[in-house]
């Protein structure tokens, strides 16, 4: 009978981690629906980027207030997780504060967890004010689920940190009472101020309180872990691969469409036989589609980008089109891509393989008006703290519009036919190119 809590703990732990693992597999499958793109080069530079941008938060602090608060919550998250390790070991083996043997180091660890927990609570409070009270446009423009999602995450943090401090406060009381099991260990710089609230409570009730907080804390963490998949909060994991696999080229360099290069080289080759039958081993199939009209036309890094986006809106707040009242919002491009990808993934889950649902990313999610408003200035790419490129998705969708649908705005069609006919975007004769020197 005495092992029942251990068994319950292990069951909850396995269920919590198992369900998360199942969703992670779905996540990876969805990301792999994207086209292949080679990002295996320059491992050292990629690793450095990940260390600097994701681990080191270098781009977060470009906005100092949000950046520093974020670093506190981020450090709290990472460091307090050492405590979770102890909780898991204690839970499985029925021990209590298994790391207490570390002595002074243990005191230091528990003490710093407590200080961080308090700092996290303060930061989260300020975050909540920023999201809900102060008029910050990039948060104000979030409505419905994305807005609630952001707040739910903050409430999670508050609950988890409060439970952690309550647990310690009760533990401290029990230690002072000399209760069985409750070894004297740890320093409690914050919860020592909560502890007096529990003065005069019986030992039995204190144990109930301490155990209650302990159980709710670990169950809360498991719920939060599983909440990630359904929320914008996946960035806490995906920021790392996303910064690793980010584009290393200069921002102005847009990728070369190889399918087009093959066609162009064939056209330019004077020895090519235009009537030649395709080489025998080439499979007859759908010709390569140019550009993207749906998520499966994008590459896997772009899809990873969409899951990594935490909807902070720095991109949109820097976007010149958005600032001047156009419909384009780079954040919405990322959110739409993810929503559509999730829809395609759910469709596959339901039907075994994708069954046409009559929808696509273009028009059903992202309108042409948004796509044509982009100036390709890279402000969104520069602003993103985790190396997401909304611009690359915009460009791929423009490619589809122009090369598959001939659906460019008429002004652009004029510009393009000028380039085609006379080598300049305006209707000037190529033979007049040097006239300026004589004027």
């Amino acid at each position: 009978m005495q092992y029942i809590p251990n068994i319950i703990f292990v069951i909850i732990l396995i269920a919590g981690i198992g369900y998360f693992a199942k969703n992670v597999r779905k996540l990876i499958r969805n990301i792999k629906l994207g086209k292949d793109v080679d990002r295996t080069d320059n491992k050292k530079e990629r690793f450095n980027n990940m260390a600097r941008i994701a681990l080191g938060q270098s781009k977060m602090v470009r906005r100092p207030i949000a950046g520093i608060l974020h670093i506190i919550v981020y450090l709290g998250f990472i460091i307090i997780n050492i405590e979770v390790l102890e909780i898991i070991i204690d839970g499985i083996f029925g021990t209590h504060r298994i790391f207490a043997f570390l002595g002074g180091l243990y005191d230091f660890l528990i003490g710093s967890f407590e200080v961080l927990a308090l700092l996290v609570l303060v930061s989260v409070f300020i975050f909540w004010i920023r999201r809900n009270v102060i008029n910050i446009r990039r948060f104000k423009t979030l409505k419905g689920w994305p807005k609630n999602d952001g707040n739910i995450i903050l409430y999670f943090e508050v609950v988890l940190m409060t439970l952690f401090l309550t647990m310690n406060a009760a533990d401290l009381q029990l230690q002072n009472l000399g209760a069985d099991h409750y070894v004297k260990a740890g320093a409690y710089p914050i919860s020592q101020f909560i502890s007096p609230l529990f003065d005069g409570i019986s030992e039995g009730s204190l144990i109930l309180l301490e155990r209650g907080a302990w159980w709710m804390h670990i169950i809360g963490i498991l719920i939060f872990l599983n909440y990630l998949y359904f929320s914008k909060h996946l960035h806490i994991l995906l920021a790392f691969p996303n910064t690793y696999y980010g584009d290393l080229n200069p921002k102005g360099q847009m990728d070369n469409l190889e399918a087009v290069t093959n066609e162009v080289m064939l056209m330019m080759d004077p020895n090519a036989d235009p009537f030649a039958a395709p080489a025998g081993d080439e499979p007859e199939g759908e010709p390569e589609k140019f550009g993207a009209s749906d998520v499966t036309d994008l590459n896997w890094v772009q899809l990873l980008n969409s899951y990594t986006c935490t909807e902070c809106g720095r991109c949109t707040s820097e976007c010149p089109a958005n600032q001047t009242g156009k419909k384009l919002s780079p954040r919405k491009i990322m959110m739409d891509t993810r929503d559509r990808l999730q829809e395609v993934g759910d469709n596959i889950d339901k039907n075994g393989s994708f069954v046409d649902d009559g929808k696509q990313l273009l028009n059903d999610y992202i309108t042409t008006e948004e796509l044509w408003a982009c100036t390709s200035c890279n402000a969104c790419v520069e602003a993103c703290p985790v190396s997401i490129s909304p611009l690359s998705i915009i460009l791929d969708m423009r490619r589809y519009l122009v090369m598959e649908q001939s659906a460019a705005p008429s002004d652009l069609n004029n510009m393009m036919s000028n380039i085609e006919n006379n080598g300049a975007p305006w209707p000037f004769n190529q033979m007049d190119r040097l006239n300026w020197s004589q004027e």
Binding site: G291, Q323, S376, M397, P409, L412, M416, R433, W436
Partner: protein, 263 residues
């Protein structure tokens, strides 16, 4: 500025069996746009005064394909690129300088994958190198003490991390260089990039160039310096829109240096 300037072509150099030090890629705006032609001429004067052995492609030059590519017409872009690369490779071009950040970006970053490998410089980088080598002298002249703010072109700045060359040159003019609230990597676009130059903007509550001109006007400048023919057009239109064209000039960095010396 109606005076002919001597501009040798690659064909002429080839006929004489010579190779110039650098190819000046003029670009479409620099060749055809009335305002941008003045920038082209100013730059040519600086090349002459620095005794740079240069040539242009002239009628053999064609659009790099930048606006086609940013519009999504990869096919047209690559046709343009491959054609231009054939011409440049036939002349065995090694080094290219251009006064247009869009040409600069395309030639430097997007031509190598298609077989065009050149050392490509923006004219502000090239002028800075001439200055460092002692071939170009930059003096304040008539701009001495003037208040100047530099607008970073997206395709020079964020796209290729060139922020200092134009500023170094401007500082040499002994002017009061002042920064807009958004500058360098945070610089706001003029509104012309991504082929927006060639179309009407989408519905909104303001034009991007007005927003950017307001940034510039906040610094109370005598002159807005630009490094891109399209930014130049957009900022000039913005200044006109604010009815400040009598008190504020929009000038390219090359024009400022050339005019300071009364070239």
């Amino acid at each position: 500025m109606s005076e002919a300037v001597k501009v040798p072509t690659m064909a002429e150099y080839m006929a004489e069996g010579k190779m110039p030090e650098v190819l000046f890629w003029v670009g479409c705006a620099g060749s055809f746009d009335d305002r941008a032609k003045k920038i082209t001429k100013a730059f040519v004067k600086l090349l002459h005064s620095s005794k740079v052995d240069f040539a242009v492609l002239g009628t053999e030059e064609s659009c790099t394909g930048d606006p086609a590519k940013r519009s999504g017409n990869e096919f047209l872009f690559q046709m343009q690129a491959v054609t231009n690369i054939e011409v440049m490779n036939a002349y065995e071009i090694k080094k290219v300088v251009t006064a247009c950040p869009h040409c600069f970006n395309t030639l430097k970053n997007e031509y190598p994958a298609l077989g065009g490998n050149y050392e490509v410089m923006h004219h502000t980088q090239f002028l800075k190198s001439l200055l460092d080598e002692g071939r170009l002298t930059v003096e304040g002249g008539k701009f001495k003490g003037k208040r100047i703010t530099f607008h970073d072109p997206c395709y020079l700045g964020r796209a290729n991390n060139v922020y200092e060359a134009p500023r170094d040159l401007l500082k040499k003019l002994e002017v009061e260089l002042t920064e807009m609230k958004r500058s360098r990597r945070n610089g706001l676009c003029c509104g012309a990039g991504g082929a927006q130059m060639f179309k009407e903007p989408e519905p909104g509550n303001k034009d991007v160039n007005i927003e950017r001109t307001e940034d510039a006007l906040e610094t109370k400048p005598d002159i807005i310096a630009a490094g891109c023919p399209f930014c130049n057009t957009m900022m000039t239109d913005g200044v006109k829109n604010k009815e400040k064209e009598d008190s504020i000039e929009v000038l390219d960095v090359a024009e400022l240096i050339a005019n300071a010396q009364d070239l």
